[in-house]
């Protein structure tokens, strides 16, 4: 009973704060993921670019963001981004009181990290689609853009879902690190609740349960998407495809 009261909504319980924290966690994940996926494609294209400096830059990007602990990337970006943004604004002679919010810093840092891994998902998926599709589309006289949009992307989807699904789960869990730079996500709300209630085991267990539930929901959604994406292939490859 006492525990239920701790989780109640309203002035005396932590239920509503935890719900808000969950909202922040979800908002950050949902906002970061599309950015990370788009960046993954860009990084992949940079890696196979014909310009050597672009290729080198893309390789440095992936090496750095795959080597640094996420927490360092986050801390550095949060405190350092200010200087970079101020400099850019100065170039356009804009004077503004701009301040990088923890949300935005988290979004940028996490999309850098996720896209470093995501570019490899894109590469593998493109390989699976096969060079022949490019050549066929080219011989039909489609532009590069149209080839990608109308021919490659619909097929790519099927091969990229498992990889991006994994990254989504990693992202969901990595948002907990943003609590270190003062964003009120689920993990940091639990910390606040413990400060007042002195019940660390209970509150950390509660949020662990929430994270596990989110991850399991995600894998269920991923299986649905995979099934949907491979509709046309079921008959061809048998039930395992």
């Amino acid at each position: 009973m006492e525990f239920l009261k701790l989780l109640s909504f309203g002035a005396s319980g932590w239920g509503d704060e935890l719900a808000l924290g969950l909202g922040v966690t979800l908002a950050l994940s949902f906002a970061t993921f599309p950015v990370a996926v788009a960046l993954s494609f860009l990084i992949h294209w940079a890696k196979i670019s014909s310009a050597a400096p672009v290729r080198a830059a893309a390789r440095v990007y992936t090496t750095v963001f795959k080597s640094l602990p996420e927490i360092l990337t986050l801390l550095i970006l949060y405190y350092q981004s200010q200087i970079a943004v101020a400099w850019i604004l100065e170039q356009f002679s804009v004077t503004s009181n701009f301040s990088m919010s923890p949300f935005l810093a988290g979004l940028i840092a996490l999309s850098f990290v996720i896209s470093a891994y995501g570019s490899e998902v894109v590469r593998a998926a493109l390989n699976a689609v096969g060079q022949g599709q490019f050549e066929a589309a080219r011989s039909l006289g489609l532009s590069r853009f149209k080839t990608f949009l109308k021919v490659i992307l619909p097929q790519l989807w099927r091969h990229a879902i498992p990889g991006f699904g994994n990254l989504w789960v990693i992202l969901l869990k990595d948002t907990s690190l943003v609590s270190v730079i003062a964003l009120s996500d689920l993990t940091s709300v639990a910390g606040l609740a413990i400060n007042t209630t002195r019940k660390p085991f209970f509150f950390y267990l509660v949020i662990a349960t929430i994270y596990v539930a989110l991850v399991m929901l995600s894998s269920r959604a991923q299986r649905q998407l995979e099934k949907r994406a491979s509709r046309g292939f079921l008959r061809m490859d048998g039930p395992d495809a």
Binding site: P69, I71, L205
Partner: protein
């Protein structure tokens, strides 16, 4: 940046050793724990298989930071009970608690890798071994182990790098690893470059590990 490194070289060295020791210990202990779980996952369709799956889902679902807090502050709440059963010496220490959380986390991932390696050994291979009437030892050393290693080594190598990075979270429960030292130096100097120095350490560490892994993997490339 150089003066920030040389000026605190003792701290950085200590942090580097802590990071390396904790992640190495965690990968090996995690492997030992993952072996039976991976086996159960691959070979058992019954209750053991379900338990293994539950374990994997549970510890892959909890963010490591939250798992650390549960083990360190959460279980710390039960210090009287832990004292009574003679386990407090273990849970009192932040290093052991951190190591336990790392091992629980990595064993869930490694179990899936091991399952992949076991699944690579198909009935066809086993029948071939029987047909050639190879002795158990020769079959294990010359056939089964190379196939399993070729299949799992790249993934285990990746897991080691992820674990090395994950160790950085232990700084939050008072362990002075590389990030812990960086945070300490940062709190005294307010100099962001402390984080850059830590970042360089990780970059070099990861590059060295990747180079070593490539060398080891090339020895097994004939299998794959």
């Amino acid at each position: 940046m150089l003066d920030l490194w040389l000026g605190y070289i003792d701290l950085w060295t200590y942090g580097l050793i802590t990071t390396a020791a904790l992640s190495t210990a965690a990968i090996f202990l995690g492997f030992l724990l993952a072996l039976p779980i991976g086996f159960a996952r691959s070979k058992s369709k019954g209750i053991l298989g379900w338990l293994a799956l539950g374990y994997i889902n549970l510890f892959r679902g909890i963010p490591l930071l939250v798992l650390l807090f549960i083990v360190y502050y959460g279980l710390g709440q039960f210090n009287h009970e832990l004292r009574a059963v003679g386990l407090w010496w273990f849970f009192r220490d932040a290093y052991y608690c951190g190591l336990l959380a790392l091992v629980l986390n990595t064993s869930a991932y490694q179990a899936e890798i091991i399952r992949g390696g076991l699944d690579a050994i198909t009935t066809a291979i086993l029948e071939t071994i029987a047909a050639l009437s190879l002795s158990r030892w020769v079959a294990f050393r010359r056939v089964l182990l190379p196939i399993a290693l070729a299949r799992t080594l790249p993934a285990l190598g990746n897991e080691f790098i992820l674990l090395l990075k994950a160790t950085s979270l232990l700084a939050i429960i008072t362990v002075f690893d590389l990030v812990g030292q960086a945070r300490f130096i940062f709190s005294r100097t307010f100099d962001l470059q402390a984080y850059y120095v830590a970042a360089l350490h990780y970059l070099v560490l990861v590059l060295i590990i990747e180079w070593l892994l490539r060398r080891i993997e090339s020895r097994f490339s004939w299998v794959a």
